[in-house]
Amino acid sequence: MIQHYSFVLTNAESKWIFGFCRHDPKSETALVVLSYLPWHESFYKLLNCISNLTNSNNSKDLWPFLESVYNSKLPIKGLDLKINSDSGEELFVCQSPIQFQLPSIPENRNLTEYYSAVDCQNMIIIFASMLFERRIIFTSKKLYRLSACVQSANAVLYPMNWQHIFIPVLPQSLIDYLLAPMPYLIGLPHSLFQSLQRNDLGDVVILDADNNTIETPFDDLENLPTDVVSTLRRQLRNKGTLLGDGVSRAFLRALVKLIGGYRDALKFHQGERITFNKEAFIESRSANMQPFLKKMLELQIFQQFIEERLEMLNAGLGFSDEFEMEVCNYHEKSSNRLKHQYKDWTFTMKREGTALFKTVKNAANPTVRNAVKTVKERGKDFRLAYKDIRSKFNAPNKNPRTKIGTHPNSAPNSPSMQKRQSWSHTTASASYRKETANGLQKLTTSQNFKDSSISPLPQINLNLMEDLKEVIFRTCDNDDPRKYTSSWDDSVKSNFIINDDLINSSFGSMPSESPMETKDLIRLDSTSSIDDFDPLNSPTNSHGLVPGVGLSNPLYQYFVPLNKTQLETKNNNDLLNEYGLNFDLLSCTDQPGPSMSTSQPPVPPLPPKPPNFKSNWTKFE
């Protein structure tokens, strides 16, 4: 059987270079392609193509073919790379992987192999061992299984990345490296494994991928929060979700529960870099999570993850990936229960009507008063945070581009005065509007800038005052709320046009309350509500600010944000795509193909330029 496997070289900067191999057991040689792109499927396909050319009659095509592969530009994600022969015949075509796509079964060979060779329980143990950064050895008689398992074990750690020694296939001459005192993940061919003196190794975790057995001297699994493990186990055993990215997503969700809360611990002060507050991170999590998280802080893998996120934030780059989306989903879900209670509660309130309003007014009900107060203060903090961010982003930006939707700081007809005179609670509505915007707003970075000194409130789609409006207004006839909304509604509209367009175009029909009320929600807070801080619209993006992302990541950054000129030709959908959001894929409509293919103007060669393109991309030896 022909084997496809991969090895990894680590260079002096600790970046990985993949060696993709195709070995026909009948042959004494193997074909190898070296590349920094982690595209296993594409390169295995390419290797088959090369093999065909080598063996076919027209082997003269081989060198021109290799040359054109070598010289071809990196296709934009999701688009095809095509190589034609001189005669115009299509020799090779492959799709460049879509960014942020989770590995799925059966398309992703590595994960498919890993899942079929190793059962759920052992996968989880390996997952735990990797989170605790152990010295880990995989062994198998088959090289393809060995490399696939090692690669996948790392892939399911997304959005984190193994930071230590990573050798999917260890050659015999390097066997001493198993003595390394630092964490490693090494794939050891079974023949070498047998010759090991195990005593010399010290404490290692060993997975035999052929027999699906594991040996570990540690209690790492027990040290993971039990609810996370049990959910993960249940999801992995659910055969119904086996196909597709169910397996990857199960691990991703586990990670969301473990580390998704990092956002609550981000600290920001004007003029300073955004930082991560370890103590706040621990304290903001539930008690059963804290012991694990304390350990987590000591891990390089987590440290580098935070570093990478901070780098992106500090560079002013919004980011939305599968991880951040899952974080939002998770918050949504966990707040559902609360929302339910809240619904019951407001229902009772409405029924009680006048009586209630009196209570509120007389401040006899501390719960309600407190709720209003907290929410209000929180709204303030949001605003403050936003101001900081805004000034930060504006400062280095010498030539701010006025875009539709960027809100001038002092808008004419600013409704702030009216608002303050009338309803102090209105700030609350504004600060929570974000939550109502179907997750889109949540994906913006503004969400991250909560001052961690605020006690974390459950993030829920609540709008206390909006829901109780009916009750309240019933009692104060002279204060018709419509007055307020209509008076400044127009000034608001233009500011939010882009957001609404964005949402509408992406979601088709957006379920909403009466438009009036929506505006209300958005605009009661006038002074540059944080809501219009949107990384998609942020002017910094247009300057092609490429952060030093990837410094902490052993993978080369093969995705580089498009430069300014290209950005300007894009519509909102493309922008969303740029940040890995594709609502066409998310929505229920079965539209074939992401919006990229339909709405994208045919911008000629769009290759993001990887550094040292030629010297890094592919090499044939």
Binding site: T10, E13, I165, L179, M182, L192, L196, L299, Q304
Partner: protein, 274 residues
């Protein structure tokens, strides 16, 4: 088959042997092996075709061959030492200098991002084997966390006296390490490239000393190029490791700083070599 895989056949005696045993073993074995390693390395260096990598491999092999006949006599103690520091501070050179007593210039690019050297040192009446590990790309870590070094017995924190950034990074790492490292870990701060000219020097010796004092670690300036203090640094590490291991049974206390002062008296001061 190379001798590389024989490492696991070798029994490493990691417990202290009895004095009777010690007498059985001729104590000059280590110096003998040491001499032949140097000879082999020199031979490898002189062959024009060999790359740096090959040279290193040749050294490694020759060393093993030397010690192979008496696997049990290799050492009384075996310690893993980790070298930490930005790339370009001379980690690899220091290792090579220490083991082979020769300086290798130029780039050493590792294929798997990690490398190590073995060296056996005689400390008083016992032989200590230091296995010194070096990994690539550490400068990407803003702080080096506990998981990274928890299995190491000693940490050498290396900075380049001609490079302020490398010094600042060490400072950041030190606080992390102090928080998490257990008391058994030996930590030494080393300012390398001390042979530089005064103009090139960016980190004063006093700054290094101050930092070391702040975190109560040993400090030393070395030059992998000239060999200045290299041997002494590793010797000090070996001694301190040994002391920490056997401190209870040995009377008196061993002070690395005192030891180093003693040793460095006879040496030329930093910056005198150009």
């Amino acid at each position: 088959m190379s001798s590389a895989d024989r490492v696991f056949e070798r029994r490493i005696v990691s417990k202290r042997r009895t004095s009777a045993n010690l007498e059985d073993e001729p104590e000059k074995q280590c110096p003998n092996g040491w001499a032949s390693v140097v000879a082999a390395a020199a031979a490898a260096a002189s062959s024009s075709s060999s790359t740096l990598r090959q040279k290193a491999a040749a050294c490694k092999t020759s060393q093993r061959t030397t010690f192979q006949p008496h696997p049990d006599s290799i050492c009384d103690w075996f310690f893993k030492v980790m070298v930490l520091g930005d790339s370009g501070v001379g980690k690899t050179c220091l290792l090579v200098r220490f083991r082979d007593d020769m300086f290798l210039g130029g780039n050493y690019i590792s294929t798997v991002g990690v490398d190590f050297r073995n060296k056996i040192i005689s400390v008083d009446d016992s032989k200590v084997k230091l296995q010194i590990w070096d990994t690539a790309g550490q400068e990407r870590f803003r702080s080096v966390t506990h998981a990274y070094y928890r299995d190491a017995h000693a940490l050498l924190l290396l900075y380049d006296v001609t490079n302020k950034v490398s010094f600042d990074n060490i400072r950041a790492w030190l606080s992390e390490i102090r928080d998490y490292a257990n008391d058994q870990v030996v930590i030494m701060l080393i300012g390398n490239k001390a042979d530089c000219s005064l103009n090139d020097r960016m980190v004063k010796r006093e700054d290094g000393e101050q930092l070391a004092k702040e975190y109560s670690v040993t400090f030393m300036e070395t030059s992998a190029k000239s060999g200045f203090n290299v041997e002494i640094a590793f010797m000090a590490v070996a001694r301190e490791l040994l002391f920490k291991k056997t401190g209870i049974e040995k009377k008196g206390s061993f002070n690395v700083q005192d030891y180093m002062k003693e040793q460095t008296k006879s040496n030329c001061p930093a910056c005198s070599t150009t």
